[in-house]
């Protein structure tokens, strides 16, 4: 069913389930999904609202634990990891970008980008140079001392991108990264993501419901409906 563009699998999900109990009823947010994402692959996860795409993304990012099945990242099952190991997975293996940017408002841009390096216990000098380098890469070298409230939406999302790649993760997980941006800014962000995918060989899993963008940037599109994977395939015409 799955198609991998690369030889090794960066992520492999085996009959993953994530069920919630809401009162008397059981919500099957993710219901028996199996998939494989190859190293360096750019995969878009499409589906309508409530289809389970964000839940699946959270499971792969290590923010949540599956109710059943297994999620293997580089051969290790996230479901069997201790909370400390999951935190390490989020710190070193995964970089995350959110629809609402999620920069900490009380911190400057550079402090926000330094934050993952603090959790990774990087030395102060290294922390500062890597944060600057990441911000320069997204052309925010001149806005280091600005607080998020002083930046535009596009700048905030670029800042969030810099924060996601500062720990040099192998997987970038983006949850509707263009959802709060106009189409031009959205494209700019996706251009950056594609650049990271190509130059840094970073595996990308992007949740979106903008099919056009997915077809333009992703190598492969996965469709989710009611918590199930309904189709998987290369975009029409391939990524441009």
């Amino acid at each position: 069913m799955e198609m991998t563009r690369q030889n090794g699998a960066a992520v492999r999900a085996e009959a993953v389930e994530r069920h919630y109990r809401m009162g008397e009823s059981l919500i099957r947010a993710v219901d028996g999904v199996s998939l494989e994402i190859g190293e360096g692959e750019f995969v878009a996860l499409l589906g309508s609202s409530g289809s389970g795409k964000s839940t699946l993304m959270n499971l792969i990012a290590g923010l949540d634990r599956p109710s059943g099945g297994a999620i293997l990242v580089r051969g290790r099952d996230l479901a069997k990891m201790t909370p400390e190991e999951l935190a390490r997975h989020r710190r070193h293996t995964v970089g995350m970008v959110f629809q609402s940017f999620n920069l900490i408002p009380s911190m400057t841009l550079v402090e926000n980008v330094e934050l993952p390096l603090r959790f990774a216990e990087a030395e102060r000098g290294e922390r500062q140079s890597r944060a600057r380098e990441a911000l320069e890469r997204v052309r925010l070298g001149a806005r280091l001392a600005h607080r998020p409230s002083e930046l535009s939406g596009g700048e905030q999302q670029r800042g969030a991108l810099a924060r996601a790649l500062v720990n040099r993760p192998s997987i970038l997980v983006a949850d509707e990264p263009t959802g709060n941006l106009d189409s031009n800014t959205g494209q700019e962000i996706l251009n950056y993501i594609r650049e990271f995918n190509e130059t840094m060989k970073m595996t990308v899993l992007m949740v979106t419901h903008e099919r056009a963008l997915a077809e333009r940037y992703a190598h492969r599109i996965l469709f989710l409906a009611d918590g199930k994977l309904v189709s998987s395939g290369a975009p029409a015409g391939g990524p441009r």
Binding site: A87, S106, R163
Partner: protein
């Protein structure tokens, strides 16, 4: 997360809600100030009491009694009254005690009743012999006149009350008592109230006292062992001879009491009794050099026993005062003397109770002082729980970026600890300041009452360090619940929180 990063983030977070965190920290500071203030009062009172006892000169002294003299100190000692069990406190014992390492001096306690004759009148008074080491006592630092010019100087120092009595002055502010034995026609009655006690300096007084004179057995020197024919002026000793070991050979058969007189020059007047009147030997109205008192060979309470010849024929002492270089030596020397077969007493026996009292007193003060800190710790819990609600999304972001539960927990702990540290430091300063102000106020009042200043408030270094450490510990304890709650937050839920 590294400790430095943790502290940086904690400080940054505290600065973000500066008013709320400052108010919480102020609450901690008030709690610590209350603790420091109450314990400083306890420490000050304890210090005051200890200094009083220490300047009394009793801390470096062991009093030695013969077991036969002390009945009823405790039951065990009360049983040990046979002459075989108890050693006499004589000159040999005095020399032996002086040989114990760390003993500075051993002096007998000599006090006796005299009739003092001065200016044609006579008075009854107690005379006490003072060793040369008494010179260092507080009482003599404020003395009017001079200390004895030599160890056997025929000089006397008077207690102020007695000096006033000699001059017919009232002891205090009350009306002048009639001078006992003072002839009505002496003519001094009118002039006396105008005289000052200092006017006695250089004057002479005469002590009329009872000298103890040993009665020698005239037969003892001869060969044989003819029983004594009784003392020349007392038959009691012969009555006791039936049970005596060998009365015929006893060189001493009894004592005589002979009235003597000694003329002394008044050199000084003291206002308070030496050693705060807490040493028996220093309780008197007239003080003379100890060596002179020994030389006078006055009748002592032990003289009657000596007359019975219960243990030996030489002179014994009622008690000996052993002086050691420092209070630390007291216990060791006390033990050594006990092993020699004597009963001992030192102020340590008394201060043990005093220390126990202050330990309980401090405990109660500490409990009451801690109440405010306990209330402040609730403030910390409240502040941190509020912070969790406000920073819920931030916690979610941190977890998404790789913060572990432990990192989040430590961050909240660091914030609680920082509030405790800042509150502790401010509280110690505030408590110290309160103490200073109260000390100042108390001393102003004491001054207005004509009393010397006192330090009733004392903040020792251990209290400064202890209060800050306690504040940090209480704050960390208060942070346990909020920190655990923050660490438990589900990152997915937290990221959804608006």
């Amino acid at each position: 997360m590294k400790r430095q990063d943790l502290l940086e983030l904690a400080t940054r977070n505290l600065r973000e809600s500066v008013l709320r965190n400052s108010l919480t920290t102020a609450g901690v500071a008030v709690g610590v100030a209350s603790l420091v203030a109450t314990l400083s009062l306890g420490a000050g009172l304890q210090l005051m009491a200890s200094e009083r006892v220490q300047t009394s000169g009793l801390f470096d002294t062991v009093v030695v009694y013969s077991r036969r003299d002390i009945r009823g100190f405790d039951r065990q000692q009360a049983r040990a009254t046979s002459t075989e069990d108890s050693r006499p406190l004589n000159e040999a014992a005095r020399r032996e005690i002086a040989q114990i390492p760390g003993v500075d001096e051993v002096n007998p306690e000599i006090r006796f009743q005299v009739e003092v004759r001065h200016d044609g009148s006579s008075y009854f008074a107690t005379v006490a012999g003072l060793p040369p080491s008494s010179r260092k006592n507080d009482a003599f630092e404020k003395m009017r006149g001079a200390y004895f010019s030599g160890p056997e100087a025929e000089e006397a120092i008077l207690h102020l009350d007695f000096a006033r009595e000699l001059l017919g002055l009232p002891e205090s502010d009350g009306p002048a008592p009639a001078a006992p034995g003072k002839p009505e026609d002496a003519g001094a009655g009118d002039a006396a109230p105008k005289a000052r006690p200092e006017s006695l300096m250089g004057q002479e007084l005469v002590l009329r006292y009872a000298e103890r004179v040993s009665m020698r057995n005239p037969d003892a020197a001869r060969a044989g062992g003819t029983p004594p024919r009784g003392a020349t002026n007392g038959g009691n000793s012969s009555g006791a001879s039936a049970d005596s070991a060998s009365p015929a050979t006893d060189p001493l058969v009894g004592i005589s009491i002979v009235r003597r007189e000694k003329r002394l020059r008044i050199t000084g007047i003291i206002e308070t009794e030496p050693f705060g009147g807490m040493r028996n030997f220093a309780r008197g109205r007239v003080f003379i050099p100890l060596a002179l008192a020994e030389k006078l060979n006055t009748v002592q309470s032990s003289s009657l026993r000596d007359a019975l010849g219960l243990a030996s024929n030489d002179k014994t002492y009622f008690s000996l005062l052993v002086r050691v270089p420092s209070p630390a030596d007291v216990q060791r020397v006390q033990e050594a003397i006990k092993k020699m077969g004597f009963t001992t007493w030192s102020i340590h026996d008394v201060t043990r109770t005093l220390r126990r009292f202050f330990a309980v007193f401090d405990l109660f003060l500490g409990i009451f002082g801690s109440l405010a800190l306990a209330v402040a710790s609730l403030g910390i819990i409240n502040t941190l729980v509020m912070a969790i609600l406000e920073r819920r999304r931030e916690i979610g972001i941190m977890k998404a970026l790789g913060a572990s539960d432990r990192d989040v927990k430590q961050l909240f702990f660091a914030e609680a600890g920082a509030m405790g540290l800042a509150g502790g430091l401010a509280g110690v300063a505030l408590g110290w300041l309160i103490g200073r102000v109260i000390n100042l106020g108390t001393n102003l009042w004491l001054q207005s009452q004509g009393s010397p200043p006192e330090q009733i408030w004392f903040t020792p270094l251990w209290l400064v360090g202890g209060a800050v450490a306690f504040s940090v510990l209480v704050s960390l304890a208060a942070g346990i619940y909020p920190a655990a709650r923050a660490a438990r937050l589900d990152p997915v839920q937290a990221l959804r929180y608006e």
